[in-house]
């Protein structure tokens, strides 16, 4: 046995032990991303594929080098990208506390800004309610286009003016503003997520009706933040 082989075997065994140790305590939430992450690490076989390609000098060698490098590159590139995508979905959470703070202020404000009696909502309540309070878009424009694109900007349009009238704590305002801007971006991009924007918009104005019976638990999901994330 050569010294090189002996040291390689030592490295192998020690790396095994590190592998056992490093992964022993993981929340189940992360099992799938972890598996995907480990999966991309063994894409290091691309290094081996490059080495055999350097040594290849006959047709069989070329074919095998092509296969090895294609397989390995797919493993390593795809593995890291898909892991990043998975983990990126978890990362959306930290900004949510400020966004959630913003939502009560925005949505509490909307009933107060409404002089009109709250309930009596038809199929697209937000389209009917939001414009009078916001004093921005003519109501007819919204009524004419009850589509997702028509409704949600108007629903979001409520909050800036409503905030100005209520003047909640600064943190809430700071959180709401980017959320609204993002929502407008999402709408102009006309993404599929706009459908959800509608449902949010439908949901929040229902609060005036529900507010007398359930005053404490305001609408938790922030209409602004939810639509804002759709553009991803």
């Amino acid at each position: 046995m050569t010294p090189e082989l002996a040291s390689s075997i030592s490295i192998f065994v020690l790396a095994l032990l590190v592998g056992f140790e490093v992964i022993s305590k993981i929340p189940t939430t992360l099992h799938t991303p972890m598996m995907s992450g480990a999966n991309s690490i063994h894409g290091v076989v691309l290094v081996g594929a490059i080495l055999v390609a350097g040594l290849a000098d006959d047709p069989l060698g070329y074919v095998l080098a092509f296969l090895a490098s294609a397989f390995a590159a797919m493993n390593v590139v795809g593995g890291y990208v898909v892991t990043d995508r998975m983990l990126g979905m978890f990362r959306g959470r930290p900004p949510s506390p400020p966004a959630n703070e913003a939502s009560p202020s925005a949505s509490e404000a909307s009933p107060s800004a409404n002089e009109a009696p709250p309930s009596t909502n038809g199929a697209s309540p937000s389209a009917n309610e939001a414009p009078p309070s916001a004093n921005e878009a003519p109501p007819s424009a919204n009524a004419a286009s009850p589509s997702a694109n028509g409704t949600s900007p108007s629903a979001n349009g409520t909050s800036p003016s409503a905030e100005a009238s209520r003047a909640p704590e600064a943190a809430g305002r700071a959180g709401a503003a980017p959320g609204d801007r993002k929502a407008v971006v999402a709408d102009s991009a006309n993404t599929a997520g706009a459908e959800r924007g509608t449902s949010e918009a439908d949901g929040s104005p229902s609060t005036p009706g529900a507010a007398p019976t359930r005053p404490a638990a305001g609408p938790r999901p922030a209409a602004g933040s939810e639509t804002g994330e759709d553009d991803r």
Binding site: F20, T32, G54, F71, A73, M74, N75, R85, F90, S96
Partner: protein, 493 residues
């Protein structure tokens, strides 16, 4: 040591550190993404510095022997493979992600086996022949065997999850015997490569070549036959196991081409993959052995009969969407219990919509997530995160059970065995498995396509509980009905 070798060695060392740190950072949701980036940068550095070895043969590198053709094959391979990997990884729907991971795992194993084949075929075709040293032939044999099994096995696993191969266990007359034969042949051929390969005669050279080909073929057959008889619900464990196998194959490929970073990374994945496999199997109350052997018809004993009143004739109460909508809207606390059926129907957006609707109506909503809900451990969290469910609303087992004790309505969507109270009693197929205490809720609604059995193949006593209402529908349709009904109720109120 030449400058080239020193630089390469240093970068490889740094890459190995990055892999370990990356895995370490991935243990917490907060740092996981950074961990992946750290690991990817180590990988990029290791791949780039390997080019140095190609350019500097005099300094101890491998050099470049094939000229322009070899360059074209390498560049073409990287562009084709990397391009497809990038495309698939960016375009895949999150519900189809497990099979993509399995596919990436398959090609990783295939690449490891191909590297060994390429190196061995060059040795076997060389002008002078005086036998292969054991330090070369043994890792070649192991690499080819493990890599080929992983390749075909992972492809079948991906096909099962994708629906190209039926998810139910597949057996045919003699399949078990054929699997055993192919395993024996593969191992025997591997031994021939390792033993006869060291002979210096021309006969030994031919025998080694033939044995190598036989080993690949038999290992490919065995990989297929190993995974075919395993049911779709066990696929996550199988994929994780094959992932660990690939790690070992890559480490063996590292021995073949004498490359430390491959040995380190391969061993790291081999070990961590085994632990992960065990954790997953534990969460399902199965042993890895019984999953694999189960495929051969020895593991799954017929399950014990259900408890009192849970027989096939047990009466269940069916409800319709309008009843459920009113029940949900009047509740103070609702716990949603998503399961495999939700993942299969890709209904996470409908569930999130329902939850948002309810919480905007003042209902406290949370999600109870069993460790093995979905198609892989942790998969449900990813799916719900995709539907923009706030992280804080997802409760893991213990926390979820505390909430279930106090909730008014537990809405079970496509989950079966993980809610079966029979697991608390000894003597059933799922005894001892940690479950969600859905039966502790004041009332229960189950959205499910039929009274069909879950993976464990036993009746769920929860369904015949008088407090349980069954809404028979596909998860997606059922939730869409509920959303419509709740909306109508809310707007009418």
């Amino acid at each position: 040591m030449s400058a080239t070798l020193t630089i390469t060695w240093l970068v490889y060392l740094g890459a190995a550190v990055c892999f370990v740190l990356g895995l370490h950072l991935m243990r917490s949701p907060r740092t996981a993404r950074r961990g992946n980036v750290v690991s990817a940068s180590g990988m990029a550095a290791a791949v780039l510095v390997t080019a140095l070895l190609l350019l500097d043969e005099d300094g101890g590198g491998v050099g470049w022997h094939g000229g322009v053709w070899a360059g074209l094959t390498l560049a073409g391979g990287i562009v084709v493979g990397g391009g497809y990997g990038l495309y698939a990884a960016r375009r895949v729907r999150m519900t189809a992600m497990p099979q993509l991971v399995s596919l990436f795992n398959a090609v990783g194993g295939g690449a490891a086996a191909t590297v060994a084949l390429a190196d061995a075929s060059r040795e076997l075709a060389a002008g002078s022949w005086d036998g292969l040293p054991a330090s070369f032939s043994v890792p070649v044999a192991l690499d080819v065997l493990i890599g080929a099994v992983t390749f075909s096995g992972s492809l079948v696993a991906a096909g099962k999850l994708q629906g190209w191969v039926p998810g139910a266990p597949i057996t045919f007359r003699g399949s078990r015997a054929l699997a055993l034969v192919s395993a024996v042949v593969a191992v025997a051929a591997g031994v021939v490569v390792a033993v006869v390969g060291s002979g210096s005669s021309d006969g030994a050279r031919t025998a080694t070549t033939v044995a190598l080909v036989v080993a690949v073929a038999a290992a490919l057959v065995f990989g297929v036959l190993m995974v075919l008889p395993i049911g779709g619900a066990d696929m996550p464990v199988v994929i994780s196991l094959l992932n660990a196998f690939t790690g070992l194959a890559v480490a063996m490929a590292g021995f073949v081409v004498d490359n430390e970073v491959m040995i380190v990374a391969g061993a790291l994945v081999g070990a961590s993959g085994s632990i992960l496999t065990k954790l997953m199997a534990d969460a399902m109350n199965r042993s890895v052995g019984s999953i694999l052997l189960g495929g051969f018809g020895t593991g799954d004993a017929p399950s014990a009969p259900g408890g009192p009143g849970a027989g096939p004739g047990a009466t269940v109460r069916t409800v319709d969407a309008d009843d459920v909508a009113i029940q949900l809207a009047y509740a103070h606390r609702v716990v949603l219990v998503p399961g495999y059926g939700l993942a299969a129907a890709q209904a996470q957006h409908e569930l999130a919509e329902l939850a948002n609707l309810l919480s905007s109506h003042g209902v406290a909503v949370s999600y109870a997530i069993h460790p093995v809900a979905g198609r892989m451990p942790g998969h449900m969290n990813v799916l719900l995160a995709e539907a923009n469910v706030p992280y804080e609303q997802m409760k893991e087992l213990e926390e979820a059970n505390a909430e279930l004790d106090q909730c008014d309505v537990a809405l079970v969507v496509g989950a079966n065995d993980v809610t079966n109270p029979a697991a608390r009693r000894p003597g059933t197929a799922i005894s001892g498995m940690p479950i969600l205490d859905v039966d502790h809720a004041r009332s229960v609604v189950v959205v499910k396509r039929s009274m069909g059995h879950g993976y464990a193949g036993i009746d769920n006593e929860l369904y015949s509980d008088p407090r349980t209402g069954m809404l028979f529908a596909d998860a997606k349709d059922g939730l869409a009905q509920l959303v419509a009904a709740v909306k109508e109720y809310v707007s009418a109120a």
